[in-house]
């Protein structure tokens, strides 16, 4: 490596990538004629490029691309036909958190909470009949108490015969 190598080094990689100006190309090519170290550096870059590119080109050459397009088309059709339930299922499958079935206790908790909340909100409070009439009639022998309901039509009569006896008729 000569002293001028350091000045060439900035443009040598650009030269290899064919990104130099005409002036820079002229400079590099002049230098390469006299510098085996820079020629070797260039060669190793070429070798590396070949190592990376050849297997890729080989793979491209062997591939059956019309079959790949058919696969893509099929997948697009499949995705279009999916119902909301399938989409939900596939989403559950895809999401890593849900794949681990962590969602089962969470969903169970939500269902239980919903049930409890619904019960509290719609709980029936005991209702009393709208109208009722109570009459109490006292006499020397018997006491009578009449209790009447409008809906349903029910009448309850208490008959008190003396202070310790009482009868109920409806």
């Amino acid at each position: 490596m000569t002293n001028s190598c350091s000045s060439i080094s900035t443009v040598l990689e650009k030269y290899f990538d064919q990104e130099v100006t005409d002036e820079e190309r002229f400079l590099v090519e002049g230098h390469l004629q006299d510098c085996p170290a820079c020629r070797d550096a260039l060669k190793s870059m070429e070798e590396l490029r070949t190592l990376m590119r050849v297997p890729v080109e080989e793979a491209v050459r062997k591939e059956d691309f019309p079959w790949v397009w058919q696969k893509i088309e099929r997948e697009i059709r499949l995705q279009e036909k999916r119902t909301w339930w399938q989409s939900l299922r596939s989403w559950l499958d895809v999401t890593p958190l849900f794949r681990r079935k962590v969602w089962i206790p969470a969903v169970a908790t939500v269902v239980v909470l919903l049930f409890i909340t619904t019960q509290i909100i719609f709980k029936k409070t005991p209702s009393y009949p709208d109208v009722s009439v109570v009459e109490y009639v006292e006499s020397q022998s018997d006491n009578v108490m009449v209790y009447q309901l409008e809906d349903p039509k029910v009448t309850v009569i208490w008959l008190f015969e003396g202070p310790e006896e009482e009868r109920t008729t409806t």
């Binding site: 490596m1 190598c5 350091s6 080094s9 900035t10 040598l12 990689e13 650009k14 990538d17 990104e19 170290a37 820079c38 070797d40 550096a41 060669k43 190793s44 870059m45 070798e47 590396l48 490029r49 190592l51 990376m52 590119r53 297997p55 890729v56 080109e57 080989e58 793979a59 491209v60 050459r61 062997k62 591939e63 691309f65 790949v68 397009w69 696969k71 893509i72 088309e73 997948e75 697009i76 995705q79």
Partner: protein, 198 residues
């Protein structure tokens, strides 16, 4: 971007699958090349190609035409392939006998030693690429596999040309280091002081 391509993209943006087929016909080899460059395994590369074109049909509405369409597509391929590789993780750390690893074209004409050597070489390249940071890997694939210019790379990677050159330089340096048994290294240290990693 020419008028025909403009029209094709516009039709695809409206959900026309025929237009997507036209895009596929035009770009499938490039997409596959980039995908294979990253994952270096046939089945995985095909999965990436499939994923990219399905994704493209959904997301092409977001392409506003401010950059070239191919740089938009290449960026999508690179991101998808890198994600795919990351998710696949250890599946790629496979043996030399793994299905889908590089097989020479005219195997019958080559001796078993030659075939073995080529497979070993391909595996070494794959391992060396795996060690690279994503940006350097992308730069090397865009330039050395796909042959993009610095300007096109900068557009696809969303960075300056200087950054592209830096990533290429350090990527090549690391690859040469990892593959020193296969690639002659000369001019050790040269250039390292002149290009700084951005």
């Amino acid at each position: 971007m020419n008028r025909e391509e403009n029209e094709m993209i516009s039709r695809c943006q409206q959900g026309d699958q025929e237009a997507l087929k036209e895009i596929f016909d035009q770009y499938h080899k490039k997409v596959y090349r980039i995908a294979y460059g990253v994952v270096r395994q046939r089945e995985e590369a095909l999965d990436v190609v499939q994923e990219v074109f399905i994704k493209l049909l959904r997301s092409i509405k977001n392409f506003k035409g401010r950059s070239h369409f191919y740089t938009y597509l290449y960026r999508m391929v690179m991101n998808t392939a890198i994600d795919h590789k990351r998710k696949a993780g250890k599946r790629f750390m496979s043996s030399l006998d793994q299905e889908g690893s590089f097989e020479p074209s005219a195997e019958a004409e080559k001796g078993p030693e030659m075939i073995l050597l080529q497979k070993e070489l391909e595996e070494r390249v794959r391992l060396a690429m795996d060690k690279l940071p994503d940006e350097q890997k992308a730069a090397l694939i865009f330039r050395d596999v796909e042959g993009l210019s610095y300007q096109e790379m900068a557009e696809a990677m969303g960075c300056s040309i200087g950054t592209v050159m830096s990533r290429l330089h350090y990527g090549r340096k690391r690859m040469q280091e990892s593959l020193k048994d296969y690639v002659k290294r000369h001019g050790e240290g040269r250039g390292a002081s002149t290009v700084s990693e951005r």
